[in-house]
């Protein structure tokens, strides 16, 4: 009897809360974050319209970037349909496409940048936060052109954030919560999308946000830290971990475990205790180990997520994506 009861019970357990947790993820986690992003991006655009000087824009830049990093782990739906993520945050950028694109735009003259329709067509490496960061932190040979470009980027970010927020509010959110979108038609598919967002964002945190600057012990790469110029590298790690923790508590409330929660708590505590805003410490043996320990703590979260959430939901990693040929 037991052999038959186990799958049946499992079926009931996983079938009922599916919709409830997806709803909670949509209405308590995803949509409020897009709303905050749209609001803060709007403030950024407004302040840039009045004052596109560095000092005037910095607070709103930080607030809007915070809001984006806090929702950038949602990689499905409107953000995917619009291909917005690479434009908002073109990083990693090992070929310095952002630097080159900015230099080219400024050399070509700033006039076309003021037209949002024309700005849509420029290199995506120059459209989002990484480009704005450069223009807010580096000396500009042509201050007027830099000013116009800052304003153009702020306007682009605000428009993108508004589009995404409206998409979620005007139907996609409710449809996704019901598993009734074109791409996600069953509770299993919506949950898999949420799970993929969680697992790929953790991998990005481990491999890119931490792995890139860490490099190797003999060859640390502090200049590869994300958003290091505005000293946001550590902040992105904290924000991202907190967002993923919150996603887990909402989307996977039925299957999350105390071990997973404590793995998140451990990683967040270590990220907060780092005291290394641009991760420059990766090149200092005395400070480097703290970043390495944090990376291991993220690995522990990844393993707990794979084992406890994927295991409970019967989600297997992408067969073709995992180990290709």
């Amino acid at each position: 009897m037991i052999r038959f009861l186990v799958p049946l019970t499992y079926g009931v357990l996983s079938a009922l809360p599916v919709a409830a947790d997806t709803r909670q993820a949509v209405f308590d986690h995803i949509m409020p974050r897009y709303a905050t992003f749209a609001q803060s991006a709007q403030s950024l655009a407004e302040v840039s319209a009045q004052d596109c000087l560095v000092k005037g824009m910095l607070p709103q830049y930080h607030a809007a970037y915070d809001a984006w990093v806090s929702v950038s782990h949602i990689q499905f739906g409107p953000v995917e349909q619009r291909s917005s993520a690479p434009a908002l945050s073109y990083w990693p950028d090992p070929k310095d496409r952002t630097g080159k694109a900015i230099a080219r735009l400024i050399a070509e003259g700033a006039a076309p940048l003021a037209d949002p329709d024309e700005f849509k067509e420029v290199s995506i490496a120059a459209q989002g936060f990484p480009a704005l960061e450069r223009l807010l932190t580096e000396d500009q040979p042509d201050p007027d052109a830099a000013c116009v470009l800052r304003r153009a980027i702020a306007t682009f970010i605000a428009k993108t954030a508004d589009d995404l927020n409206k998409d979620w509010q005007s139907g996609f959110g409710a449809d996704f919560a019901k598993s009734e979108t074109q791409a996600y038609q069953t509770p299993e598919e919506t949950r898999r999308a949420l799970y993929t967002a969680l697992s790929t964002s953790l991998a990005f945190l481990h491999d890119q946000r931490l792995g890139r600057p860490l490099g190797s012990f003999d060859k640390p790469r502090p200049t590869r830290a994300e958003a290091r110029r505005s000293e946001r590298s550590q902040r992105h790690i904290i924000l991202s971990l907190s967002a993923l923790d919150d996603l887990t508590r909402t989307a996977f409330a039925d299957v999350t475990t105390p071990q997973l929660q404590s793995a998140f708590n451990e990683a967040i505590a270590r990220a907060e205790a780092l005291n290394d805003p641009a991760l420059a410490g990766v090149a200092d043996p005395a400070k480097r180990f703290k970043v390495e320990v944090l990376q291991r703590a993220v690995r522990d979260v990844q393993e707990a997520v794979a084992k406890q959430i994927a295991g409970a939901l019967g989600i297997t990693a992408g067969f073709n994506a995992l180990d290709g040929d």
């Binding site: 291909s83 690479p86 073709n320």
Partner: protein, 359 residues
């Protein structure tokens, strides 16, 4: 998904027929290796409507298959570094013969038949030297091993025959591996992939490669246009965020040209293309399973049609457009109007979808 009952009935019905031609009832239009929910591996036949004809057990994970030009027969290969190949009667859904790579060789997972159907060619690794070899088998005489010749490079992966001609095209991926070290890549710093056009006796007629700064763009999967051009799907071995385009076309006049891919799409692909299919004289489809993207390229205008589907990988021409499969068990149909899910199976479809000739 067909019920188990219906599946059984279908198998029985086809088993009763003296099926000897592709067009017979129950014969699949496509083949794919797959993993079952129990973690076992099988070769699955699919009909045009996405339903399953047969599922044959495989000894271990499979990869691609070579389709006989006239008989309803295919040879399914082990995934590298496997050593088995199975000759399958596709109409009956039965294994007819087991082939084994010769001592000291392993298969890379792909193969093709000569136009006259007398010979089967397989991509192989000569393990000790790491040199790529093309195995030659007597397809008309019980698949006796006849010998092998150089593939023209290291790590030959997909091999095909130019349509209507006795000319082979080999994608030498450039990556050296050794079974003792699993699937570890041993020569990424010095790898030199190439595309080699050769006669069936191994005489190279043309060798195409990329500029030196793109030597880490491994040439893995290929598909032939009717006019001598070859569609290429690459796997970039450098920093994935520094990847150039990973889709291209070879032409006898111009060599290899990379197709334009937008930064927004390329950024999410991990430098990895899984499969490629030529759809007509100008369109080709490339899958990017790590990015969950399928792109149809118009080689005349450079425009693309982008479709998103997690873990999509297998793609092949079909009667009306193309068929594609993913690791979640879905079978999709692609038409100029877009994509539609045809069927869902309790299977994870593996890398390649193979179109069965004349079906």
């Amino acid at each position: 998904m067909p019920s188990r009952r219906r599946f059984l009935q279908t198998s029985l019905a086809t088993a009763a027929l003296p099926a000897r031609a592709w067009a017979d009832a129950g014969a699949p239009t496509h083949l794919s290796a797959a993993r079952t929910p129990e973690g076992k591996h099988s070769l699955v036949g699919l009909r045009a409507d996405g339903s399953r004809t047969f599922a044959l057990p495989l000894p271990s994970r499979g990869h691609a298959a070579a389709v006989h030009p006239t008989r309803p027969e295919a040879v399914a290969f082990a995934r590298r570094p496997g050593t088995y190949a199975l000759v399958i009667d596709c109409a009956l859904g039965r294994t007819m013969q087991h082939l084994t790579a010769p001592e000291g060789h392993h298969f890379y997972g792909h193969g093709t038949f000569s136009k006259d159907a007398k010979t089967l060619f397989t991509t192989e690794n000569h393990i000790e030297s790491g040199q790529g070899r093309i195995g030659v088998w007597d397809a008309a005489g019980g698949y006796v091993r006849l010998g092998d010749f150089s593939s023209g490079g290291i790590g030959p992966h997909e091999i095909l025959r130019q349509p209507g001609r006795e000319m082979l095209v080999v994608a030498n991926g450039g990556i050296r591996t050794h079974p003792d070290q699993g699937r570890a890549k041993l020569n990424l710093a010095t790898m030199q992939p190439n595309l080699t056009m050769m006669r069936p006796d191994g005489t190279a007629l043309d060798v195409a490669s990329l500029p030196a700064e793109q030597h880490q763009n491994s040439i893995r999967h290929i598909a032939a246009f009717d006019d001598g051009r070859v569609a290429i799907a690459f796997q970039w071995q450098g920093d994935p965020y520094a990847a150039p385009s990973i889709a291209g076309v070879y032409s006898p006049q111009e060599g290899i040209t990379l197709l334009r891919m937008s930064d927004a799409v390329l950024q999410g692909l991990d430098g990895y293309a899984g499969s490629v299919a030529v759809l007509d004289h100008r369109h080709m489809a490339v899958t990017f399973p790590r990015g969950g993207v399928l792109q149809v390229f118009d080689t005349e205008t450079g425009s693309t049609l982008d479709l998103r589907q997690p873990d999509i990988c297998g793609v092949a021409i079909a009667q009306h457009g193309a068929m594609a499969t993913d690791g979640l068990g879905n079978v999709h149909v692609l038409t100029p109007q877009g994509a539609r899910r045809l069927a869902q199976h309790d299977l994870a479809f593996d890398n390649h979808l193979i179109r069965v000739a004349n079906a």
